[in-house]
Every structure is written in C-alpha cells, then in structure tokens.
Amino acid sequence: MTAYIVRRLFATLPVMAVVALFVFFLLRFAPGDPAAIIAGEDATTEAIEAVRAKLGLDRPMVEQFFVWVTQLLRGDLGVSIFSNLPVTRLISQRLEPTVALTLSTLFVAVAMAIPIGVLAAWKVRKWVDRVVMGFAVLGFAMPVFVLAYILIYFFAVQWQMLPVQGYQPIKEGLWPFVESLILPSLALGITYMALIARTTRASMLEVLSQDYIRTANSKGLATGRVLLLHALKNAAVPIITVIGIGIALLISGVVITETVFNIPGLGRLTVDAVLKRDYPVVQGLILVFAGAKVLVNLVIDISYAFLDPRIRY
C-alpha cells in the first residue's frame, strides 16, 4: 500500500513540472513586453527596466531558468512586485479562509448531492427524479456570481437571516464562522452539486439493475441498507471520480465567490494580483492551486483501492 502511494506520488511529478514550466515560459514568451505591461500604461523607461530587473528578465534565459528552478525546489515562490513580501508568506496568510470555504462547500455539496442522487435513482422517472434532473440542468447553467447575488438578496438583504458578506475566522467563534460560510458555500457548490447528483443517479441506476441487488432484495433487507450499502458502495467509484474532477470547478469558483462575498482568501489575493499585474504572485497561486488539484486526484486514486476490493495496487 505504502509503495503504491509513493509510486502514485512520483507519477504526479511530471504534471507539476509541466505546470511549473508553463508559468515560467508564459512570462518569458508572452507577446509584447511583459515588463512594460506589468509596469503599467504611463511607466517611464526606468520603471520598466526596474520591473524587468526585479523579475530577472534582463539576464540570459538559461541563467533565469536555473535560478528559477533552484528557487522553486527550495520552496521559494519569489517576491511580490508591489509589497516586496515573499509570495509564500502572502499565500500562507490568506490560506485559512480559502481552505475553510472549499472544505465547507465540498461538505455541503457532497452531503446534499449524494442523497438526492440516490433518491432520484430509487424513484427513477417519478416526479422526484424529474425535479432532481431539472435542478441539475439549471445548476450547470447557473453562474456562481449570479446565484451568489440571488442568495444574498433574499437571505441577507430581504430576510436578514445571514450576513451579506465578509468572513469570520474560526477563532472568533464557531457560529459566526459557520454563518459567514453558508451563503458562499451554497453559491459555490451549486454546479458541483449538480455534477455529483447527476453522476450519483446515473451510477446508481446502473448498479440497481445488477443481479446482486436482486439478491439483496430477495433477502428482505431494509430498503435503506440495499440502497446505501449494497448499491451505493458499488456505485461509489464514478461518484468519487467526479468529486475529484469537480475540485477544479470549485477552485475556479473560489476566485469569484471570494470576490462576491469579500472573503480575504487566496481567490481575493489572485484578483488583487491580477488587477495590479503582480505576476510573481499569480504564478505562485497557480502552482499552489494546481498542486492542490493534483493532490486531491492522488487522494481519489488511492481511495478507489479502499472502495473496491477488486482493484489491486
């Protein structure tokens, strides 16, 4: 098992290397003069040269590459052009809200989507199923920020049940923390939920037609046990896969959700960096987000082995 995990871990290295090379070459081979663009519209030649020197773009390409690679291997993501603070520090300062938002969304989405997917499969072609499928189609079309404003309008402005925006760190108390995450999680989770619910339904339908479900029914087991143990455990692999795929959706959505709800996390940091054209920060964030995604996929890969005894390492 450990050997398997280590092997999978090594398999992620090429992917991360490609990501790293991409951000490196993007800056070096961008059309136009990135230093001029980063420095801004009315920058003087000196200012542009200063940016160029700061980014190390004035040195030979090979040298740039080696400097950059050694930095990266040491875990050094460079320095922000504007605040001069190390990118790693900027990122770690903003990590908590984003992790909290992502995990709570993941939790809300999975906790809601799997039961409704199972329900839809159980009541297939009945009205419950049609409602669920209709919701899924809508969920795929609903932009995160539009839903976010609809939720804010009703729950925060009209009914004043929840805060309009902002984030309360967990050390400020559990309820304010949870309260500040409810609407963002719902807005961010809707498409994800639709994706998981639809996959759960499809996978369950496939499983429910299998012989072993007939066996389980012939044993007079409770419906709950047949659906949630006998069927769902067999249906789990595609569901887990799509939960992993959806993490990408979630990460893209985080950037927008944090902007709408004014949550000071990595998404907000990204937007600020883009608006100020702070490329080192953007580059660091890409590496972190891509790393998170690769890591999630790794966890998913490993979880297959626990769910299905037929899978061998």
Binding site: Y212, T215, N217, S218, K219, L221, R225, K233, N234, R310
Partner: protein, 337 residues
C-alpha cells in the same frame, strides 16, 4: 380447489403480467400448484415459459415499474402473500422463504465480504448481534462444505470459484432456516461436475433441515435426479403435473414428450449407418405472449392438435394417481406411446 393437506405454499390461478412497448405480456397465465412441507417440487419448461416469473411472484420481487401480479392467490402457511404489506413481505423474504439464483458469478455483491452478506441476513431476521450473525455465517459456510470457512468469511466474492459462490448463496439462503427455498436454475451456469455436487448438497441439506425446495430448471435430468413432484409449464400455463416417477414413466402432455425427446438419448443404439437418432427438437416457436392465446398454447407446435385444441383451452384433468394434464387428446397421446 382446496389446499392439499400439509401444503406449506399454495399458488392458485396466478396471473403475472408485464407492460412492454409491444403490449401486455402475460408471463404467468393462471398457474396453480402446492408445495408440501419438506418436499422437492420441480418446475420445468423452456426459457420464457414463465417459471422464473412464477418464482419472483411468490417472493413479490416483480419490479413494480414494469410488472405486477394481476390476479390469483399465493398462500404461505395459510397466509395470503399477495395482499401483505411490503414491510411484512420483507420480513418473510430470506427468512421463511428464500431464493437462490442462476448466476453465482453476479448474484453476490462484489464489494461486501462473504461473511457480511450471510450475517446481515441473520441479523436482519433473527435479531441477533453481528457477532452472533458472523458465527452463524461460519456455521453455514461449514455446512455447505466450504473448506477453511473461518478465513473465507473475510473474503470477497471475486476470490471464490463459481461453485463456491453458489455454495455461499445456498449458505445465505438457508441461514435463517427457511420453510421454502426457491432455487432458480441453481446449477445452469456451473460445470457439469460441480452441478452434481451442488444438487447433492441441496438435497442433503433439505433432508437435514426439512426445508421444502422449489427447483426451477429447464433440465429434465436435474428434475429426475432431485425432485419428488414436477410441474411442467408452457407459455405461462401449467400443462402437466405428476410425481416424478409417473412423469418419466408416462408423460401425458405432447409438450412434455417433446421435452423428453429433446434429451440426448445415449441408451439408443446407433443404427447400421452408425448415426444415432438426432436430438429431437420441438418444431415451431414459443407463442408470443402479448396476444391472448385461444385454445391450447401448444397447439401450433403439436403433432396431435385438432381444431378443438386450437379453439378451446383444455382443462387440467386427473389422469389418475395425482397425474394432472391439460390436453384434449390424452387418449391418442397414450396410444401413440
């Protein structure tokens, strides 16, 4: 009709129908039979004759989206099953009536251990602890002669051979000491040598536990070896019923005769040209069940058929000693023997 004394299961005039795009399929069209305590009853017929649907109807496992028991009565220990609530039915399934299926390769859940799948049945119906359920699972695996039963409890179905999986199915089905075991083609998917072992095991366990067995099969050889009484079904109807010796001694329905003709006969000597008589097949096709059948369902394929056979449905008549047959031309058939 009144129930046979000692009958544990009484099926009366059962009609099970499926709605399909082509119309209503009358899969079971007025079938009646009894199962006595501790006996082995065979139900024989070609595929599509309604024998599996009859079994699924008894346990009320017909998928409600497509099919239903349209009419008839199924009594188990005097209790009417067709009107029982789903909850009450669930308490019966796997406990007092249980079932094993044709495909041992796919009938066990691939992601649950063998032990769990047997124990959950016991825990569900006998209300014992999981620990006791597991212990019972071990006993049952031992009973169906799975070597190293303790270790097998924690194995998954894919680690077992086909024969072993069917043994596990039997262990599971018998784990709550049911009064009736319905076995739907339990050996069809297995190798010939394994088939014999499984059948022997079932008979042996029947003797031990007193469970009545309803053995559904298309294989007359299996019927001859294991059952005491036989029901022959054709196109959703019962066409003949007899004690097993009587049936093989003198099959009365032309269809039964056709089925027996379809068994390769090794006792017939090859003729001068060195060829054995070819395996007889019954000419023609099973009727389409979406259209109401007028007269005898077998008439279109029957060598004895008359105009009456094609227009009037023959009633089941007693030809003596509990040998029932639904045929207008019994006398001619008898003479032809």
């Amino acid at each position: 009709m009144t129930g046979t004394p000692g009958a544990i299961l009484e099926v009366r005039d059962l009609h099970t129908q499926f709605s399909t795009l082509d119309g209503v399929v009358r899969a079971v069209d007025g079938v009646s039979f009894d199962v006595a305590r501790g006996e082995t009853l065979g139900i024989v017929g070609e595929s599509g004759c309604g024998k599996s649907v009859t079994a699924m109807s008894i346990l009320r496992l017909i998928p409600p989206e497509t099919g239903r028991i349209a009419s008839g009565s199924i009594k188990f220990e005097g209790e009417e099953l067709t009107t029982l609530s789903e909850e009450e039915m669930k308490r019966l399934r796997g406990h007092r009536i249980s079932m094993i299926f044709q495909e041992p390769m796919t009938s066990l859940n691939p992601v649950l251990t063998v032990g769990t799948q047997i124990a959950e049945n016991v825990v569900r119906h006998l209300g014992v602890s999981w620990k006791a359920g597991r212990e019972r699972a071990f006993e049952m695996l031992d009973l169906v002669r799975i070597a190293d039963a303790r270790r097998r409890l924690d194995e998954y179905p894919h680690q077992l051979s086909g024969g072993m999986r069917q043994r596990v199915m039997i262990a599971m089905a018998l784990s709550c000491d049911p009064q009736v075991l319905i076995a739907d083609e339990p050996t069809t998917a297995l190798d010939v040598t394994i088939q014999a072992q499984i059948l022997d095991l079932m008979i042996e366990l029947k003797e031990k536990t007193g469970t009545a067995i309803v053995l559904i099969t298309h294989d007359l050889g299996v019927v001859a070896e294991t059952t005491e009484r036989v029901v022959v079904m054709y196109a959703g109807r019962k066409v003949e019923q007899a004690p097993v010796e009587a049936l093989f001694e003198e099959p009365l329905h032309p269809y039964t005769r056709g089925l027996m003709g379809a068994i390769p006969r090794l006792d017939v000597e090859a003729d001068a040209a060195g060829t054995r008589p070819r395996l007889q097949e019954i000419p023609g096709l099973v009727p389409i069940l979406t259209q109401p059948i007028v007269g005898c369902a077998f008439a279109p394929r029957c060598g004895f058929a008359t105009d009456r056979c094609r227009s009037e449905r023959p009633p089941l008549v007693d030809a003596g000693a509990g040998h029932l047959v639904a045929c207008w031309e019994i006398d001619r058939v008898r003479r032809a023997a």
